[in-house]
Symmetry: C2
Subunit: 123 residues, 2 copies
Amino acid sequence: MSRTPLHPTREQIELPMVLDCLSDPIRLAIVYQLAAQERVSSELCCGDFSGLGGKSNLAYHFAKLRECGLMQTRVAGTNRFMRLRREDLDARFPGLLDAVIGSAAKDAERLHLLSEGDVVEAD
Amino acid sequence: MSRTPLHPTREQIELPMVLDCLSDPIRLAIVYQLAAQERVSSELCCGDFSGLGGKSNLAYHFAKLRECGLMQTRVAGTNRFMRLRREDLDARFPGLLDAVIGSAAKDAERLHLLSEGDVVEAD
DNA sequence: TCAATTGTTCAATAATCGTTGAACATAGGA
DNA sequence: TCCTATGTTCAACGATTATTGAACAATTGA
């Protein structure tokens, strides 16, 4: 297991890869949940997303989200803490992340996204 | 050949399908070109995109863009005139289209998008 | 009427994608 | 030390995808 997963630099983040990543309902739900969490602690670990699928399937989607630059993973013990790369994304694609998250929020029910109260408590 | 291609209603437009559509470089280039054209005549026909690929491949991407609600096709003689469904998209997903097009513009060279001067003359 | 133009549809291909379960690696606690 | 918990990696699969060329349909103009 690699100790620190690889992440693209800010400049390496590509628009088509980001859009493709966000087009998957599970990955969109992950990003949405991370965005909702930003107001509390900004980080979540893999287990916090267990409502979205099985472990190996989530690991697959986490890898996609890392590779395209949407999120960053920090290893701490047996946990992986993940957060949105908001600064990098806002710098590369101003307004895009907020527009996607806002659009997802409008369709939260249709997209089966978590409701506002479901944020995980800060550690 | 169906006389008038099917389009989803405004409410039927789904965020994941829109993002997936925009994640393909050729389709992103088509949307970008349509957006650049909005200032001039708002409509383009299939032949205006011949720089982006072969006829049958473009027809495939046009169908995708129609099915997800990004653009509308109007049949006129042997031509199909296409335009962005900006009103519907802005109503469903405020700011999304502009954020994507703005992000694409920032990466125009990397994405091999047409330059500002390449708009087709109004008819 | 015949030929040319415009664009779609069809069939086939290779490549990629999402999902699953089993196996593995790592760290922490009894 | 052994057991457990947390995630990742691997191999397999079925499904979808983008691309190509050939065939087709509809309209226009000679």
